[in-house]
């Protein structure tokens, strides 16, 4: 699935039971809503875990953070573990300070995120995943 309305579009793909969503260069309202849409679509399609990859993301604004909290909500309701990968230092510090990392795990890159989720065998409990990773 690709949403290509801007230069660096939000796109996503499925890796087994895991939905992988690639954020664009700026996590703001527009791209945040696209990420949220993709996440919900993957969960509705039966994905049991989600990875949001921020490899291309340089900036995160307040609306982007709020929408990511919505993604966390959606994942928790579906009891789907959520991993953020390739988060730059600045965004990682912000996510940590604002409490996002209490509800999602952090991975160095996409492969590490997928490996993490495979290792925990997609246990239907985020706390198990977050607990194992910390």
């Amino acid at each position: 699935m690709v949403d290509s309305h801007d230069r660096s579009p939000v796109r996503s793909e499925r890796s087994g039971d895991i939905g992988v969503i690639y954020a664009s260069d700026y996590l703001n309202k527009l791209s945040g809503e696209r990420i949220e849409r993709e996440c919900r679509a993957h969960l509705s399609a039966g994905c049991r875990a989600l990875v949001v990859d921020f490899k291309n993301t340089g900036l995160v604004n307040s609306i982007g953070v709020s929408i990511m909290l919505g993604v966390i909500d959606a994942a928790e309701r579906a009891r789907a573990p959520l991993v953020f990968s390739n988060v730059n230092d600045q965004a990682a510090q912000l996510f940590e300070l604002l409490g996002l990392m209490r509800h999602a795990a952090l991975a160095k890159d996409e492969s590490a995120a997928l490996a993490m989720l495979t290792e925990v065998n997609l246990q239907p409990s985020l706390s198990v995943l977050v607990g194992e990773l910390t």
């Binding site: 309202k29 307040s62 953070v65 909290l69 510090q93 912000l94 300070l97 409490g99 996002l100 209490r102």
Partner: protein, 425 residues
């Protein structure tokens, strides 16, 4: 970077985002939704809602909510005088987790509403007050860190709430201005209708003076309208020329009835008296503030001729306003196609011949050409609304000769030679 600095930069950046969102007035609900996101995202809050106070109904209408799922209510009914109490109180964030502040919330919102907010897992209530007017409420849930709000964070919320309040207040003002503008548009339309009706009443009064020309002014108005439309005028100017057509003979009100209705050829003195009517009409129309330009001048000059042999001033060619040239053609067309005291109406071929003979002398060729094109469109059925055919009566335009006569005359009128001759005059 230290945590404190990162938080500070994020809060400042959120304030900038807030300003940007509030400035966007295109979609009110989207604006409120975005501002709620900014507040939630600036502090890492998982849920929240913004409700606006609906004046008159003692209602809080939920405009935006995030993280409340299916529990989001549509409205909260406020207790009486709640808005007044909030308007007077200091608009600071109040926490439901603090006993003293919870009591304050209950005093202002009532116990039922306070419980409803708590049930939504919302713990911080921030009234939106602008110019001592209660405009709404922001209700915020707990932080994703599950920590309590610090005093700095409460200050951030309070500052943002002031901005959001201004956004809602401005939207309301804009809405009121739009409503007033809509009312004014309605009043203006009413005035225009009254003006049109008055013009029609005057036209009827003018035509009452002459038993043989009943409906003449109205017909001239309608023919003028058709000609102007054919010449590509805009709707505003077309309405103006129609009014000018209705009123072109208003000066006849000062001419004696026996001269207007004389069943014989009037003498020079009577003719001079009758010829006063364009100038008299101008004097009558001049003091009126018409919504359209040139109406007095059109009345004054509708008997002028391109060759300068008209009256009252003997103007030539371009000295005559185009509107007066249009009304002159419409006036003569109606005179030729209706029965008069001294003559029966002309058959269509005679009218065409008269136009041919007087093009560039009495009439402006481009105006005659426009009338002929409009007539041709009605003859061929190109124009569905056959306005002129209806005015001319059944059968008048149905003769087989109409079409070729009009085509030939249009070709002649539109030839460069004739137009050049006119500009010379």
């Amino acid at each position: 970077m230290s945590d404190k600095t990162t938080r500070l930069i994020h809060a400042f950046s959120a304030l900038a985002d807030l300003g940007e969102e509030i400035a966007d007035t295109r979609d009110f609900e989207e604006m409120v939704r975005s501002t709620l996101h900014v507040v939630l995202g600036s502090l890492g809050l998982r849920r929240g809602a913004v409700a606006e106070y609906v004046q008159g109904g003692d209602l809080l209408r939920f405009v935006a909510a995030w993280g409340l799922g299916a529990k989001t209510p549509t409205n909260f009914i406020l207790k009486t005088q709640c808005a007044e109490i909030f308007s007077m109180a200091e608009p600071r964030p109040l926490s439901l987790g603090d006993q003293e502040q919870r009591e304050l919330i209950e005093q202002r919102l009532g116990a039922q509403l306070t419980d409803a907010i708590k049930e939504l897992n919302l713990s911080l209530v921030v009234p939106l007050v602008v110019h001592e007017k209660f405009v709404g409420l922001i209700m915020l849930g707990g932080k994703a860190t599950e920590e309590i709000f610090t005093s700095d964070e409460r200050e951030v919320v309070r500052t943002m709430a002031r901005h959001i309040g201004v956004g809602i207040y401005n939207h309301r003002l804009l809405h009121e201005i739009e409503q007033r503008a809509e009312e004014n548009r309605g009043l203006y339309e009413d005035l225009r209708t009254i003006y049109r009706d008055t013009v029609r009443a005057f036209a009827a009064a003018i035509d009452c003076k002459d038993k043989y020309t009943q409906g003449h002014s109205e017909r001239v108005g309608k023919y003028s309208e058709v000609i102007a439309r054919e010449m590509g005028w805009d709707e505003e100017r077309i309405e103006g020329i129609a009014v000018a057509g209705y009123l072109h003979d208003i000066g006849k009100l000062v001419v004696e009835r026996n001269i207007i209705n004389a069943p014989y050829k009037i003498d020079a003195k009577q003719s001079s008296e009758l010829n006063r009517h364009p100038a008299a009409g101008y004097e009558m129309l001049l003091p009126i503030r018409h919504p359209f330009a040139d109406i007095p001048l059109i009345a004054k000059y509708h008997h002028e001729r391109i060759d300068g042999r008209g009256y009252p001033e003997g103007l030539t060619g371009d000295q005559i306003p185009l509107g007066a040239k249009i009304v002159a053609v419409a006036d003569s067309f109606d005179a030729m196609t209706t029965d008069r005291t001294y003559q029966r109406r002309k058959v269509f071929a005679e009218v065409v011949e008269d136009f041919r003979k007087n093009a560039g002398k009495q009439f402006a060729p481009e105006v005659l050409a426009a009338l002929c094109r409009a007539l041709l469109k009605e003859v061929t059925g190109e124009t569905k609304e056959r306005k002129m055919a209806k005015l001319l009566g059944k059968g008048y335009l149905e003769s087989e000769e109409c079409r070729p006569l009009l085509i030939k005359l249009i070709a002649e009128l539109e030839s460069d030679k004739l137009l050049a001759a006119t500009s010379m005059a």
